[in-house]
Symmetry: C2
């Protein structure tokens, strides 16, 4: 408010120094919370900063410090809900810092994938990048990050990297929850709709199914499995194959919610009522799950928590050891599963 040297341009560190009667060096010390600073000086400078509304120029800071405060988020849009949940978790972690989140969708199947990511890292020079599945499963990208000297954390459904560069969900355990849930209701013939080959999450979920069925002494043979690729249509097609078996399964576990919705459509087309004649369980707890009819029982993994942990590993590497790397999932029971018909 005190009209003093009121240029229209944003105030710089020099203005603060001049008005508070100290050197810019001291102002810099205030900004960076240097410990050896007289309390009165600090308060005086802070008062001027507040009065001027001074905010340090991030570009100048980044240049001098030889590092910036950008976090990159590399993803292949596996699912909008998941990407946004992840963004939310990261933003929560960096809320009170000067970090910002830069999003960078890529095409996993593009031949230029590595070039695209290289260009992104070289041009923007983020302090670190977070990589979402399924692109995170590509080891070449991690190698690239190391080559470029860029910090990174991968998100995965299996042990992809060391703990400092990974947040991991235990999909085997999670599928086990779903199968136990169905078995506890009395189901013995449980079908499985797999995800696409080449996805770590898909193979982990299938392994979880195999392990659970073996543990429960149930038949998990090939006749009860059908391939999908995480799309609605593939879930529909897979369900058609499973339901044509005789006797058909009394329950179907689909490796994600979209395929589970496809299974539901297939059942409805055949006049099979859900859950009375067929139970369905999905995976991911996307927004579809609660909005289809009947509401879908599914597995929810703590994406936002994982994102928060991943971001903290980058932002505050010192505290990285305190950040968990392995996260467990929960079963969300809804109305799409019930005991099998007598």
């Amino acid at each position: 408010m005190a009209g003093k040297a009121k240029r229209d341009a944003k105030p710089t560190i020099n203005d603060v120094a001049r008005l508070s009667g100290v050197s810019k060096k001291t102002v810099s010390r205030v900004i960076n919370r240097s410990p050896l600073l007289n309390q009165m000086t600090r308060e005086k400078v802070e008062a001027v900063i507040a009065d001027l509304g001074y905010v340090p120029n991030p570009q100048a800071r980044a240049l001098a410090l030889r590092r910036n405060f950008l976090l990159g988020l590399i993803h292949d849009n596996p699912n909008a809900q998941m990407v946004l949940n992840f963004q939310e978790g990261v933003l929560d972690a960096i809320k009170d810092t000067e970090f910002a989140l830069v999003v960078r969708p890529v095409d996993r199947k593009s031949p230029r994938l590595l070039d695209d990511i290289r260009a992104f890292i070289e041009v923007q020079r983020p302090y670190g990048v977070l990589i979402l599945p399924p692109v995170s499963e590509n080891d070449a990208i991690a190698d690239l990050c190391r080559e470029l000297g860029c910090n990174y954390v991968r998100m995965g459904s299996a042990r992809l990297d060391d703990a400092a560069h990974l947040v991991e969900s235990n999909d085997r355990q999670a599928v086990g929850l779903a199968i136990d849930y169905l078995a506890d209701m009395g189901h013995r013939r449980i079908g499985f709709v797999a995800g696409p080959a080449g996805f770590r999450s898909a193979s982990e979920r299938e392994a979880g199914f195999d392990e659970a069925m073996a543990r429960l002494g149930l038949d998990g043979s090939a006749g009860l499995k059908s391939a999908g690729n995480y799309t609605f249509e593939s879930g529909h097609a897979a369900a058609v194959r499973l339901l044509d078996n005789s006797p058909r399964p009394t329950a179907i576990f689909a490796s994600n919610d979209e395929m589970a919705a496809g299974v539901l459509h297939a059942a409805r087309e055949r006049g099979i009522t859900v859950p009375d004649e067929l139970s369905i369980v999905g995976f991911d707890d996307t927004s579809i799950a609660a909005h289809i009819w009947p509401p879908l029982s599914t597995v929810r993994w703590p994406i936002a928590s994982m994102a928060r942990s991943a971001a903290l590993k980058l932002v505050d590497p010192a505290a990285a050891d305190d950040q968990p790397s392995l996260f467990l999932s929960d079963l969300i029971p809804r109305a799409s599963a019930a005991p099998p018909p007598a």
Copy 2:
């Protein structure tokens, strides 16, 4: 490959200048495609750049140019699919530029909303921000951007600002499409589920309904309207009220897909079959629409195209005049609507 002064650090403009025997200013001219440059010099420098793998430091550039190449995306997560579609459109527009997209979710109802946005703009100093509905409807945010000297474009469902700062969808026209679609099938008693008060999109969609019903000479009175707030549950509750009317409507238009899904659930609970006894039309064409049963007829608005146009208005203001500000929507007919029962 030519091992020359091979420090581990990234090459700078000085390295390029030294190795190509020109001044750094000339290298700068090459980078910025200055027209008055000898072709041979240009090629010589470009060869060195390619050999060294030199990429200009964005922070240094930003500092010298007194502007950076960050675009901020401010949103309140109205819907994950929509936000991601918007991101996709923006990214497409800035694909071959040095711009990057920084996401910044905010809480529309927080008392600190303006402070949060102010802090974001002051700390990150983005070149411009894109504001998604419903936060975009807050005029104070636009004022704030002007005060801070930050470029901005708002996305809205009505005329919120001048064309240079707005991409607009015509929700009235869009709702008209949906009502025409139902009326053409023979529906006369058409119910309407409104969005929450205070949302411009909600009032525009309601106005579209009123205009269409009046134009068609149908009864659009209050008894056929029910309030919702864009959530699944509110759509369910609104449908319950509408379906308790006698005679009940033969079709219901819901102001978004989530509420339409709620309407569908309500109908199913009451044993009303869709679309035989009740037609339902939604709005937005989110992923829910295609994945529920029956697949939902809905209105799709071109989010990605709008995003692309919005981004171009910021990135290339010179070409802004060529960028459309008003976008029209399409009706996506699916299986949730059919002629009314005889």
